[in-house]
Subunit: 360 residues, 2 copies
């Protein structure tokens, strides 16, 4: 397990985070810049497990929220991270012992590292998703009945809003309305937890996992022999398709990038794979058969460079590989599938666990 | 000056509040019911001047916010009033010494009375508008550079949001977005003040004023001789027109009731008066000449019954009198006219103070 995070590890971590973004999650580029600057000016961040903390210690997860396209253009000034964590501690009348990502996947993998460095606090190696999801209530903490609030939300201009809501979907609704009024993106501290709650309910080792995924994918990109096998072994993933993009329909509506991409198999033009996405890739169907679906991770990578391709980066004629990585185990329980399974996103299909039966 | 407020005074106060709503402000009916119930179960409310309190004592203004049409249908459960006042005190780490209306005009004249009774706190006889205005930043406190935040906002379901913003228009923007997400109406505690700030910057005696206006108007309605003269004397107001409605154009857009009403003079059909409104009546023009404008109060009352008519209650053929009451003095300073003069509402005209030159 990781003991510290330093500047040199950020590129691999960002690469892993991009893959775990499953086509969405927000580009980690900006988060990497912020984390690098913070690590270089404040020193390496101590990474701890929840078990290493006093069970009653306050752990504060934090993240950016908003349309990924806006996040990239409306750059945080860095003080928001410090402010939301401190505001939440103050609201609760407790000292913050550590910070944590709520989402390891996309930009929000990197954001808590910058905050940990600035605040000189340890970073807990855990999260609430181990992939990217579009909404605040899409966490294993919701499954455990843990409220997302109090939440502290801040923008780069100095506005701060604290929420206490009756349930997590209401938190998503109220927070989202303020984010839109703030101009489309903001920073939040949410789901305040005791270290004991982190240990009991969060997904452990998410940051280590993202870093290992990134290192393995980097090896693939560098052309190391058998590197793809190594990536699939550590993730228990599979390559389910190799094809080129023959159709692409993409719309940005209500703050979501929704669409469909169709791939024709590279060796067998009679085979096609259709991937449906809403910010993240959600379902992959071959001849009406579900090959993979949310909450498993459907990852599209460039066939030549092994670079993960976001839903925004898809283009006609691209040759790609489709990898599927199994989600964290907690998501496969019935309540998990109810919260983030295909039906939660409007697809009238059942979740099908990854199997070996159909070739790539 | 008032010393206490009891249930028997509520009808006159509500009548005065309706006139000071200048066509908008939200129907005081619901506020009256809530205030009556609170006064009957908790006893009369002590009414104090800011001078009677310790200069450093914390005074919390509170109000309902939202579309007036929704406020009437989405009934508060009463606990929101207590909750927002207590939440704001707690956020500031201070005991609340008294509550206050921020707006004396419409429903928000009555709401703080219910809160004062429930909380067993005195009510300060002052406000920030002495009429109704549509937005949070439309207060004499904004003129004095006093922030509207921290604000505590709550709905009837148990959701609570605390805001700290960089300026008062931003407070309006963020609060409004949450009110819409909450379903269109909510309760807030805003502009936390010391008693000294109330004394220096608020409009004193607003509740007494509304009550006296209500008593005088009630006398008019009961047909007491010379009662209308009495009403105009205490308000320094004038009747500027007596006519019947010959044209009415009204739309509800973006949460505002916007429109125009045209009156033909009752004795001289060649004379017409046009009133433009956006929730409240804002400008009154005769032959292109400004007869009255915001921030002065343009009040339409039924010619027979002297009942104030809201912009929603206007109808073709109604015979009405148009009364104009001068606004509180603080609004007539250049900064006041910039914040709430005709140009602030999009009318390309200058404010003209009420004069005697044109007959009613």
């Amino acid at each position: 397990m990781l003991a510290t995070l330093a500047s040199e590890q950020l590129d691999d971590l960002a690469l892993g985070a991009t893959l775990l973004g499953t086509g969405g999650g927000g580009d980690p580029f900006l988060g990497t810049l912020m984390a690098r600057q913070a690590l270089e000016s404040c020193g390496a961040v101590e990474v701890v497990s929840a078990e290493a903390l006093d069970p009653s210690a306050l752990v504060v997860p934090l993240a950016m929220i908003g349309a990924p396209t806006v996040i990239v253009e409306k750059i945080p000034n860095g003080q928001e991270f410090v402010r939301v964590v401190q505001a939440l501690g103050q609201y609760l009348g407790k000292d913050v012992a550590a910070v944590m990502p709520i989402e390891v996947g996309g930009v929000n993998t990197l954001v808590p590292i910058a905050a940990a460095a600035e605040l000189r606090l340890p970073l807990v190696d855990a999260d609430g998703m181990r992939r990217a999801f579009p909404q605040l209530e899409h966490t294993v903490l919701t499954l455990a009945g843990i409220p997302a609030t109090p939440i502290a939300l801040a923008d780069e201009k100095g506005n701060l809003v604290v929420f206490e809501t009756t349930d997590n979907p209401m938190a998503e609704k109220l927070v989202r309305s303020v984010v839109v009024a703030m101009g489309g993106s903001a920073v939040l501290a949410c789901y305040p937890l005791t270290a004991e709650q982190v240990r009991e309910h969060c997904i452990p080792g998410s940051i280590s996992y993202a870093l290992e995924v990134g290192e393995r994918l980097d090896a693939v990109q560098r052309g190391e022999p058998d590197a793809i096998r190594g990536l699939l072994r550590v993730t228990h993933g599979k390559q389910i398709f190799a094809g080129k993009i023959i159709d692409l329909d993409r719309q940005t509506t209500l703050g979501f990038a929704r669409g469909t991409v169709v791939l024709e198999h590279i060796d067998d033009p009679t085979r096609t794979l259709r991937i449906e996405f809403q910010n993240e890739n959600l379902v992959a169907l071959e001849d009406g058969l579900v090959r993979a679906s949310v909450p498993d991770l459907i990852c599209v990578v460039d066939a030549e460079t092994a670079k993960p391709i976001t839903t925004e980066g898809l283009s006609f004629g691209q040759r790609v590989h489709v990898l599927v990585l199994p989600c964290a185990e907690k998501w496969r329980a019935p309540a998990g599938l109810e919260l983030v399974g295909p039906r939660a996103f409007g697809y009238d299909i059942d979740y099908v666990a990854l199997t070996d039966e159909v070739p790539a």
